[in-house]
């Protein structure tokens, strides 16, 4: 009996060990590089050698030997939840964005390097004073039911989005100088935007709004009707079927204005469990899925897979501060915490090296972002302590935690303590213990709590939070897209009239160099006041099977692939 049991035990262990063996060769490597940097020290530029750890993603990508071929089905794994609706006006989630990006078109769309390219609009021109913008829609742009795409469709869509009472309203984006933009159909294929003032962001905004067919959408309630579940668009693919909770199929749109897409079909498979997605990719059940850096070790050594890192730095992680919270209302305290943040520890501890430090409000993808401005403050615990002393936080009782002494709005002796929360355990939860440990060194007793989105949302919307860890992204190159984060109801309770002036000025200016100057000034104010403490740009990765190729020089972010260039995807075999 005993012998039998021990044999069984050994057998079970053996199975587990065999299953757990990983093949050795890494697909992705992290490389340490020594870089010479010019650092300004006390007014005199000095050349200082700094060792910077760079992440170099090395994958064994064989150059595709085949030319693009027509035909085949591409199966995309979608792990961000089921799309709730397929109505482009109502789409605010990543998943429906991916799907609808293959079905619908914009007037203009983002191309490689973030430049705007013609989509439904073949050409466009501004009037002399910049207050009028005319789009010329392609003659051969049609809906997949055969009807032509007209100026009426554009006007219908944009006027719906201007409805201030609708849940999907974008009235703020579609207004300038307090006036909503007026639209005029010059003829069936020409639409004119008439604006109260010149409006720089307007073109970029058009790359963010899909055009809907007026003849198919219920004007009284665009969210009702069969269109929501069976959309008809003008993009490279058309909707075929949606097996709720399982898969969504689109097929090539023969009537697409450009050449027919390479693929016959794209199937989006919903996989709610991210852990199941990687084995599904490995077994060939899906052809591609977005993965996090923490999942890369699972993919190591698999010769069938290619891992593509996100090169656009369009997602940033930051600590967002409630600037009216009593302890954090003094900007000196916020600056102190910023200087006491060792970003390298986050980059390694949370993302395993797959992130870059950030010190700016705008992400790298925005056209106004600049590498050297504002400078990333050195990690300096002593300087942070000095700032805290200046702000009235001293540790007089020697317990390692500071107390208030002469701090406005707080009784003397109040301990230096507040709560850091987050709404996403998986994505931002790991930052919290690191913050707790790092800020302990400057005498802060940080409480941390991880919540689910709805619970966190409730606290944050009521401004009951002190600070929370979060991220934002995919705003693209247009700085105006960030404005939504700084609106009237913003979660930092930050209302700086000077900054709002700059936002308005930036929107009215059309020349990009002038706009950059405005946003630079804004960036400096944010760096001084720190309503948010930026931490890093975290990478995301697209893991695909070798049979998938994008026919265009360079690789795009995962979002960009489906959303903008699904017609350029092809597969090397059935």
């Amino acid at each position: 009996m005993k012998k039998f049991l021990s044999l069984t035990f050994v057998f079970l262990i053996g199975v587990t060990l065999v299953a757990g063996c990983a093949t050795p060769t890494p697909e992705v490597q992290v490389v340490k590089e020594t870089v010479k940097e010019t650092v300004i020290v006390e007014g005199t530029p000095q050349v200082v050698e700094k060792e910077i750890t760079k992440v170099v993603v090395v994958t064994s990508t064989p150059e595709p030997a085949t030319d693009p071929r027509y035909g085949g089905t591409f199966i995309a794994g979608v792990t961000f939840g089921d799309p709730d609706t397929l109505n482009p006006i109502d789409c605010d989630s990543y998943t429906c964005g991916q799907v609808l990006g293959t079905i619908f078109s914009y007037l203009v769309r983002l191309g490689p390097g973030g430049q705007l390219q013609p989509d439904l609009a073949e050409t466009w021109e501004f009037s002399g004073d910049g207050k009028e913008l005319t789009f010329y829609i392609r003659e051969n742009a049609n809906w997949s039911d055969g009807q032509p795409v007209t100026a009426e469709d554009v006007i219908f869509t944009l006027e719906e989005l201007q409805d201030p009472d609708a849940p999907y309203t974008r009235i703020h984006d579609l207004s300038i100088a307090g006036e909503p933009i007026q639209f005029e159909a010059v003829d069936a294929k020409t639409v004119k935007f008439i604006m109260a003032d010149s409006y720089g962001p307007i073109l970029s905004l058009m790359s963010d709004m899909w055009i809907m067919p007026k003849h198919l959408v219920n004007a009284d309630d665009p969210l009702a009707g069969p269109f929501n579940q069976q959309p008809i668009g003008s993009g490279p693919f058309k909707f075929v079927e949606w097996k709720q909770g399982e898969s969504l199929t689109v097929e090539a749109n023969e009537g697409y204005y450009d050449s027919r897409p390479y693929l016959d079909k794209i199937v989006f498979r919903m996989i709610p469990s991210k852990e199941a997605a990687v084995p599904a990719l490995q077994s060939g059940e899906i052809d591609a899925v977005e993965v996090r850096s923490s999942q890369l070790p699972q993919l190591q050594g698999d010769r069938n897979l290619v891992v593509i890192p996100d090169p656009d730095y369009d997602h940033a992680v930051q600590f967002r501060i409630n600037t009216k919270s009593p302890i954090l209302s003094n900007h000196l305290v916020r600056q102190a915490l910023n200087i006491a943040t060792d970003r390298e520890e986050y980059i390694w501890g949370v993302w395993g090296g797959y992130a870059e430090p950030s010190n700016t409000m705008f992400s790298k993808a925005a056209f106004c972002w600049e590498a050297s401005e504002p400078t990333l403050p050195e990690y300096d615990v002593e300087a942070a302590k000095a700032l805290l002393e200046e702000a009235g936080w001293k540790d007089e009782d020697g317990d390692g935690i500071r107390e208030a002494h002469g701090v406005e709005g707080l009784d003397d002796g109040t301990p230096f303590s507040f709560e850091l929360i987050t709404y996403s355990a998986a994505r931002y939860g790991p930052l919290l213990p690191i913050a707790q440990a790092q800020w302990k060194k400057v005498g802060l007793d940080l409480k941390i709590r991880v919540l689910e989105p709805a619970a966190a949302g409730e606290i944050i919307d009521a401004y009951e939070h002190d600070m929370y860890a979060g991220g934002w992204g995919s705003f693209g190159r247009e700085p105006q897209m960030y404005r939504g984060m700084w609106g009237k109801g913003n979660t930092y309770q930050y209302h700086n009239p000077k900054v709002n002036e700059l936002w308005d000025a930036g929107a009215r200016e059309v020349d990009e160099a002038k706009r950059k100057a405005i946003y630079d000034e804004m960036e400096n104010i944010y760096a001084e006041e720190l309503p948010i403490i930026p931490i890093a740009f975290d990478y995301t990765f697209l893991a695909t099977r070798h049979r998938v190729v994008l026919d265009e020089a360079g690789l795009y972010t995962f979002g960009t692939v489906w959303t903008y260039y699904s017609e350029k995807l092809y597969v090397t075999q059935e």
Partner: protein, 322 residues
């Protein structure tokens, strides 16, 4: 008996109302605002936009009013519309119900097919190696969390061995040949069924074992043997039948639980069933869907209980309802 049944059926209605009130209130007490989910959690919220959304969902009314309106519609057969997709709740549920039912039935069947023989043999050969091993596996089955087992199975059979699919009810593209299609379907069913049925498989085997053990020691079994009946007849016609009664009741009661949606199993295997819908609805605070599923589950459990009691009375002559 008929009076009893009618009585029970009538009792179901106030119970359902009570359950629906409870679930209605509890959902609204939980933190989180359904309107919030229409907006990107990573972007700031404009209060006017949020108010607009709440109004369009009917959430600006006081809770009792909301409930009365909901109840009024339900009594007319309308379960309302999903907040997220604007599709009728009944449609959303019934689109996914077949998948859940199939999986639930498969799991129940598998559990019975495994549990009955295993339990029986364990009882008959008490304290043998077989008994010992089956006890071990039974306890493992009961104690290991099914999400862990599910992921482990996926990792081994999909990731490492590549012989089973991880996702969904069928492959894409589905094979055209009828036999190949059947085999493909079977492959998709294996892991979710095993994971879903694991706990019941284990506990029912134990239950069957103890039930049969108890029955064998009864006097009437001794009488049957004394009468000269062969052992097989004694076992199959007398012992087993009586031992199975509680097990069948148990199995019947577990079916509505499975129909309510195997939340975890369906999520792991991306099974497009009611459980998946429920998880998604809970996460996004889609109140009408949650309410609809709760109502449906509650009704099924109450009906199944009733059915089990009736069956029990039919099968066991000692049981009488008067």
């Amino acid at each position: 008996m008929t009076r009893y049944v009618i009585q029970r059926v009538v009792q179901i209605i106030p119970m359902l109302i009570l359950i629906s009130i409870l679930s209605f209130v509890l959902m609204r007490l939980a933190p989180g605002d359904p309107a919030r989910f229409f907006l990107d959690p990573e972007k700031a919220v404009e209060p006017e936009k949020l108010a607009n959304i709440r109004r369009s969902l009917g959430l600006d009314q006081p809770v009792p009013i909301q409930y009365i309106r909901w109840l009024g519609r339900v009594l007319q057969g309308d379960l309302g519309y999903s907040f997220r997709s604007r599709v009728p709740v009944a449609e959303e549920i019934f689109a996914r119900l077949p998948n859940t039912v199939k999986l639930g039935l498969a799991a129940t069947l598998l559990s019975l097919i495994v549990a009955i023989p295993v339990g029986t043999i364990s009882a008959l050969k008490q304290y043998s190696i077989f008994d010992y091993l089956s006890t071990l596996f039974a306890f493992l089955g009961i104690s290991m969390p099914n999400f862990w087992i599910g992921l482990l199975l996926i990792y081994i059979f999909v990731g490492q061995l590549g012989i089973l699919p991880a996702v969904g009810t069928e492959s894409i593209p589905a094979p055209t040949d009828a036999w190949a299609r059947f085999v493909d379907s079977l492959k998709h069913y294996i892991m979710p069924t095993v994971v879903l049925g694991m706990q019941s498989m284990a506990s029912w085997a134990r239950y069957q074992r103890s039930s049969l053990l108890e029955v064998i020691r009864q006097d009437y079994i001794r009488t049957a043997r004394a009468k000269g009946l062969c052992e097989t007849t004694v076992l199959l016609r007398h012992a087993l039948r009586n031992a199975l009664i509680p097990l069948i009741t148990l199995a019947m009661l577990s079916v509505p639980r499975l129909l309510g949606g195997a939340f975890i199993t369906e999520s792991i295997f991306s099974w497009p069933g009611v459980g998946r819908l429920a998880v998604h609805a809970l996460y996004t605070r889609d109140y009408p869907i949650i309410q609809g599923i709760t109502l449906m589950s509650a009704a099924l459990v109450l009906l199944a209980n009733l059915l089990a009691d009736i069956l029990y009375a039919m099968v066991d002559p000692r049981v009488r309802y008067d």
